[in-house]
């Protein structure tokens, strides 16, 4: 085991640091900030992420002797591992709600196509307001999490303009996605226009941390529907694992590319 280098002193220090961050974040707990009719919900995971950034060796020198590039890369591996029990917990909220989920089945399946909503909103802004070039295609075609990134990498290469677009939204989403997904759902919920089931299943469109932030915020807003919210969001997230890549490959990316060629033929 030692030869793989995943149980070295740097790695153990990393776990210790994470443990300390987690304890402090959980002691602070959930904070609600009322803004008019809605309340923005700050979750412990947000503080933990912020603390991680503050202590990131690329930001501060204090940790750079312990968190070497190798240990940082290992921290990247640990994200995937640490999110797995969370994913399991989420799955266990789906089973008991299976009847409600089957009742909402058509909505659950069709809302996967609703992911194309990014093209409706982000594409015109990128092309007509911000006058962006070919990076638009990579940036706006999907929520740009890992499978979507892999798709653009394969089709255009990450050093292309399209690749720069997808990387930019990926990195930005990694930095602020948790926060954005803690805020957007409560604001939309406060409009009072949407069925809570629709808002819950839409929480499953992105990464695990986006799912966590989104459902955490909705549950804080409607605690009486906790089980229903978790069950539908979890089911939608599982569906996204299965369909996300294919919706991107056969629908979203060709559509975005076609739109862009129509809008800016001068760039081809």
């Amino acid at each position: 085991m030692p030869k793989s280098g995943v149980f070295g002193p740097g790695q153990l220090a990393l776990h210790g640091l994470v443990l300390a961050i987690v304890i402090i974040a959980e002691i602070i707990g959930i904070i609600r900030i009322p803004i008019g009719i809605a309340a923005i919900v700050l979750l412990p995971m947000l503080y933990a992420f912020a603390a991680g950034i503050v202590l990131n060796p690329n930001i501060t020198r204090i940790t750079s002797s312990v968190l070497t590039p190798n240990v940082q890369k290992f921290a990247g591996t640990m994200i995937t591992i640490a999110i797995t029990p969370f994913v399991a917990k989420f799955g266990t909220t789906v089973g008991p709600q299976i009847e409600a989920i089957i009742d909402a089945g058509p909505a659950l399946i069709l809302q996967e196509i609703g992911n194309l909503g990014t093209v409706l909103i982000a594409f015109p802004i990128a092309v007509y307001v911000l006058r962006m070039g070919r990076e638009t295609v990579g940036a706006v075609y999907s929520i740009d999490r890992e499978p979507n990134l892999a798709l653009v990498a394969e089709k255009y290469g990450l050093d292309s303009p399209e690749g720069a677009g997808v990387m930019g939204v990926y990195a930005t989403g990694t930095l602020i996605g948790t926060f954005v997904f803690a805020v957007i759902p409560v604001l939309i919920h406060a409009l009072g226009l949407f069925d809570i089931r629709a808002l819950a299943m839409s929480c499953g469109v992105g990464s695990g941390s986006m799912l966590a932030a989104c459902t955490g915020a909705l549950v804080t807003a409607e605690p009486e529907n906790k089980d229903l919210i978790l069950g539908l969001a979890g089911a939608s997230n599982v569906l996204t694992y299965a369909t996300g890549l294919y919706v991107g490959m056969f629908l979203a990316l060709p559509l975005t590319q076609w739109l862009f060629r129509k809008a800016r033929p001068d760039l081809y």
């Binding site: 994470v18 930001i59 089973g95 909505a107 929520i143």
Partner: protein
């Protein structure tokens, strides 16, 4: 593209996962998650143990399936399916499973992953976010808003039409 390896599923990297090593690292993650759960809910180690053990088992079995089943589904997909299967009403033991995992707060389990996430961000990721500039930040927010809202609108309309 080393900094895309972390976070969720990556079809090309996943088969390399060494199961024994990962099982140990998962144990560390579960312990930290258990501490987070204790601090946020007051549920102690002994009381949380069966629930955490169930989540741990789902995770390990999911990883193994993702590695050995010949068609592609990310390990998180398998983990979800197992967790769903053992909690469907009528499945033997499902009531007990639901009761035990009910003692674990789902938000507490997400906290460790994000702490690792903040610490894992590479110089390259900061550089990309910086050089992409404010336009990409605006677009990223539009993308997230559009994806969420698009899903919500279609889901809501479908629920209205079909009840």
């Amino acid at each position: 593209m080393q900094n895309t390896e972390h976070m969720n599923a990556d079809a090309k990297n996943e088969p390399k996962v060494r199961v024994g090593e990962t099982a140990l690292l998962l144990l560390i993650a579960c312990i930290i998650g258990g501490v987070a759960n204790y601090v946020s809910t007051g549920v102690g180690a002994a009381e949380a143990l069966p629930g955490m053990a169930i989540l741990y088992a789902c995770s390990v079995i999911g990883l193994i399936l993702a590695r050995f089943v010949p068609f592609y589904l990310p390990s998180v997909g398998w983990v979800s399916l197992i967790a769903i299967a053992i909690t469907i009403p009528g499945v033997p033991g499902s009531e007990w499973v639901v009761e035990q995992v009910g003692k674990i707060n789902f938000l507490a389990l997400a906290t460790p992953a994000l702490a690792y996430g903040g610490l894992a961000l590479s110089a390259k990721e900061f550089a990309i976010a910086r050089t992409s500039g404010w336009k990409i930040v605006i677009i990223a927010i539009c993308v997230m808003l559009g994806t969420y809202l698009g899903s919500a609108v279609i889901a809501d309309l479908t629920l209205r039409v079909l009840g």
